[in-house]
């Protein structure tokens, strides 16, 4: 055989072997670092218990297990939204929006499915709404419930549900969208932010025409979105298609564009893998997502089993958002649940005020989470929470915190967050305990020396380490 042919044959064989290996990689058993990486990227922190559950599995099994254990309803409910049992009137709370935010933090800290909450956060940053505009906590809560219900459901249904969501209606001024003076705000955001992405295949005329299609709804006095008689009946021309009637048709038109799948797939990449999506792979993920008629589980599974997700160079290359940082700290330290309000305040200081995204586009994220100010705030909150965690346990039942717990509502099984003793166990194992804790909590080897003669000092140093900001 001529040399060139042998060379080509070898190349082909190598290529085939590599391709086969590529197929087999999801079938390989999880390394501990892989399991930690998966938990950090899909949750808030990797606790020993969560790691133990995943380690016997392969990558594919682990991903499937995490997806299978996601919820469509929260574990807890916000007590303050129920009527006061003594008076049967709405409960008087000083700041309902704070109470709502504290409830969501409580849910994130106590949930048995961090992936669920990560997905709700993702959609909260996609279908944005803010309390400062909506001004009704119940409507924002309802939207949160909607997002959780469909977080890993079907994107087409999620889009349609959000279209009729009252909080979104108010946030995007749909109430002003009457037939005489079409308000283009909503039409623009649906195309630019929710479906196609900015500047993709739609024109200003499409927006003006679509705005006319979105007319004819209003909020009734129970704050539901209902049809009204002033819909603009004239035909509209959107994305080159003539449309006779209303908004559902517009949404269907948009969803027919595969570009929508690409947009969402790109966002999933940025959420779970890296800030530089591989456009070619994204298009493949999008094509499968589109073919699966927008089944979000299909997209998530494919994203989490992609080669790029598991590549060693990815470890510790994403910045934890403020909420991820805080909830991770709280779950790690098993901070007493009375600290819910503290997390709300800290979240705001770190630059992510829940239910208050800075604008319709949401939080930009990535390196933007970190600047001198927020680094200082993160430093402060670590000290506060470590102090709280290392205090004697009896403090958890102090009267003030009991009251706070009552206001925040009980968990569905009536059981408050119970400190799991892994911290105590690690503490009792001297330098070895410190080493284990370092490996557990940090995605990369620490950037600063960690003292190992005193566990409290070590814990503080670990949580202050530069690498703790990363996942």
């Amino acid at each position: 055989m001529p040399r060139s042919e042998i060379h080509l044959k070898r190349k082909r064989i190598t290529g085939a072997v590599l391709a086969l290996l590529g197929l087999l990689i999801p079938l390989a058993a999880l390394e501990p670092d892989d399991a930690k990486h998966l938990l950090l990227r899909t949750g808030f922190v990797a606790t020993p218990a969560e790691l133990a559950r995943l380690l016997p599995l392969t990558r594919a099994q682990a991903v499937d297990a995490l997806i299978a254990s996601t919820r469509t309803v929260a574990r807890t409910t916000p007590g303050f939204l129920n009527p006061d049992p003594r008076t049967n009137r709405p409960m008087m709370v000083v700041s309902p929006e704070r109470a709502l935010k504290a409830w969501w933090y409580q849910e994130m800290v106590t949930t048995d499915s961090p992936l669920t909450e990560r997905m709700v956060l993702f959609w909260h940053n996609h279908f944005t709404s803010a309390f400062s505009k909506v001004l009704d906590v119940r409507l924002l809560y309802d939207q949160n419930v909607l997002l959780r219900r469909s977080a890993l459901g079907n994107f087409a249904l999620l889009l349609r549900d959000i279209d009729l969501d009252a909080a979104m209606f108010i946030y995007l001024d749909k109430d002003s969208n009457r037939a005489n003076s079409p308000n283009e705000n909503y039409a623009r955001e649906v195309m630019e932010l929710f479906t196609l992405g900015e500047g993709q295949q739609y024109t200003e005329d499409d927006i003006k025409e679509a705005a006319r299609a979105f007319t004819g709804y209003h909020l009734d006095n129970r704050k539901r979105v209902v049809p009204r008689g002033d819909h603009d009946p004239r035909p509209k021309l959107v994305l080159g298609h003539g449309v006779e009637s209303g908004q559902d048709v517009i949404l269907q038109l948009l969803l027919k564009e595969e570009r929508v799948a690409t947009y969402i797939a790109g966002k999933f990449w940025r959420e779970f893998i890296s800030e530089q999506p591989d456009e070619v792979v994204v298009r493949t993920l999008a094509a499968d997502f589109y073919r699966a008629k927008y089944d979000l589980r299909v997209l998530l599974r494919a994203t989490l089993l992609s080669e790029a997700f598991w590549h060693p160079v990815q470890r510790g290359q994403l910045v934890k958002s403020p909420v991820e940082f805080l909830v991770g700290l709280a779950r790690t330290l098993q901070a007493p649940v009375g600290e819910g309000e503290l997390l709300v305040e800290a979240g705001r200081n770190l630059g992510q005020d829940l239910f208050e995204p800075p604008n319709v586009k949401g939080w930009r994220g990535a390196n933007a989470w970190l600047n001198c100010e927020t680094m200082l705030q993160r430093w402060r909150v670590v000290d506060t929470l470590v102090d709280a965690a290392l205090r004697p346990r009896e403090n958890a039942s102090k009267p003030a915190e009991k009251k706070a717990k009552a206001k925040l509502g009980r968990t569905t099984d009536g059981c408050p967050l119970v400190p799991v003793p892994w911290l105590d166990e690690a503490r009792s194992q001297g330098a070895a305990g410190v080493a284990q804790t370092i490996t557990l909590l940090l995605p990369l080897p620490p950037a600063e020396p960690i003292p190992d003669h005193d566990f409290s000092l070590a814990l503080r140093a670990i949580l202050h380490d530069a690498t703790f900001h990363l996942k």
Binding site: Q317, P358, A368, L370, C372, T374, L376, L444
Partner: protein, 424 residues
């Protein structure tokens, strides 16, 4: 070796081996009557001791109700409900006046410390908040749908980097009242991580907090520089240590003014800026942000309140600066917004996204009065105001005349710098 050091080294090398002594004050024995230039001729420089104070009006400020063309009946035809009555307007000349809420700016206008650039926009206006402010922040060209990844000011500072003083406090200080959300407002300062762009909410608390954080030493894991996220964190830790020392020194001295500022977000931001400027901080830019201009409905309530905020905060700022000799002359305040609003009001007593709008300039070096032309209300472009001044001309003018940047900046075919400031 950090990029900042590399940049400085690069600057030195560019001189073709000139003695390092040129960058430090010469020995006493070498002093002559004309001090040696700090950098050789041809090196781009800016006047690092000036203070540009940006005020971003977030949401799209309605220019028509800010500088009101009260003598034009078309204005009232377009705005039957929300138009500002001609009897309410603070008249600046026989055609234009300020919204009554801006009455505190009258003093600045009358003593030559205030200018208004009319009809500022750009061709092919983008009505999206995000792309709109991105265009303003990066001076991107929308006609060619250009995307740039650095802010116009960080780009300018990058070009002038070789001339930056070693004791620069910061390239910019953003004074917004919430941390990372301010990053949206860091827009003009993104893209050059070797520069120092700080976000400072409460200066005194800032100093206290920094003092607690220890220095970060060399990374014990060699060769880990390929992780950009980690590099970002490490760099921030370093900044924190360095600036802590510099800020401490500055704020230990008492405030040189006793002016009372309004207790609004903008009031607090401008008060902090005044503190730094009058304290002699070496920082060429400050950025304030004020939200709420996206007045799609019931505009008169919200917009009027916002203008009042701007008016009283700026008046206090001017007073505070004028109480320190030279401060007002070294400072230029510039207001801007991602776009203006539609000429015609909508059915909700508000206005939708529009195009051209005025920019207000205040400071000791402005060329006072009106610049540019008011958009023609009878000749709208697709129902929107046609811009008459390109915002990049304003940037060019600020760079050349206020910041003293020597080579032409933001060179764009057909655009020339707007002479809105007194050069020198």
């Amino acid at each position: 070796m950090h990029r900042r050091d590399l940049l400085k080294l690069g600057g030195l090398c560019a001189l073709g081996g000139m003695a390092p002594g040129l960058f430090t004050r010469a020995n006493a024995a070498d002093v002559s009557t004309t001090p040696p230039p700090l950098s050789p001729p041809g090196t781009p420089t800016i006047a690092w001791d000036r203070s540009l104070v940006l005020i971003e009006l977030r949401g799209g400020n309605d220019g028509l109700n800010t500088i009101v063309p009260f003598a034009d009946p078309e204005y009232y035809r377009l705005r039957p409900t929300i138009g500002v009555r001609d009897t309410d307007v603070v008249r600046l000349d026989q055609r234009f006046g300020l919204h009554p809420a801006l009455t505190d700016l009258r003093a600045a206008w009358d003593d030559g410390g205030c200018a208004a650039v009319l009809g500022v926009g750009y061709p092919k206006p983008n009505l999206s908040h995000f792309r709109g402010i991105e265009i303003w922040n990066t001076a991107a060209d929308e006609t060619s749908e250009q995307t740039l990844t650095d802010g116009w000011l960080s780009r300018l500072y990058h070009l002038a980097a070789a001339s930056a003083p070693t004791d620069l406090l910061a390239h910019s200080i953003t004074l917004s009242s919430s941390g990372a959300q301010a990053h949206e407002g860091l827009g003009p300062f993104v893209g050059h991580q070797e520069q120092n762009h700080f976000v400072i909410d409460k200066p005194e608390q800032f100093i206290k907090d920094i003092g607690v954080i220890p220095r970060l030493d060399e990374d014990p894991v060699a060769g880990r520089t390929a992780n950009p996220a980690l590099a970002h964190v490490r760099r921030l830790r370093e900044e924190i240590t360095l600036i802590g020392q510099r800020f401490s020194t500055l704020l230990k001295a008492p405030a040189p003014f006793t002016t009372v500022f309004p207790e609004t977000s903008l009031g607090n931001q401008l008060k902090s800026a005044a503190r730094f400027i009058t304290g002699g901080a070496l920082c060429p830019t400050y950025k304030c942000t004020i939200d709420g201009f996206d007045t799609h409905s019931s505009q008169r309530g919200a917009h009027d309140y916002l203008l009042k905020d701007i008016s009283s905060a700026l008046a206090a700022f001017r007073t505070a600066l004028k109480s320190t000799p030279g401060a007002w002359e070294r400072t230029l305040v510039v207001t801007y917004s991602e776009f203006g609003r539609r000429a015609r009001e909508n059915g909700s007593e508000g206005t939708d996204h529009g195009t051209a709008a005025p920019m207000l300039l205040l400071g000791g070096r402005v060329k006072p009065g009106f610049h540019g032309t008011y958009p023609d209300l009878k000749n709208l472009v697709y129902d929107d105001l046609g811009h008459t001044t390109d915002f990049r001309s304003v940037y060019q003018g600020i760079a050349r005349d206020f910041l003293g940047f020597k080579p032409p900046f933001l060179v764009t075919p057909g655009l020339t710098p707007l002479a809105c400031c007194v050069p020198g």
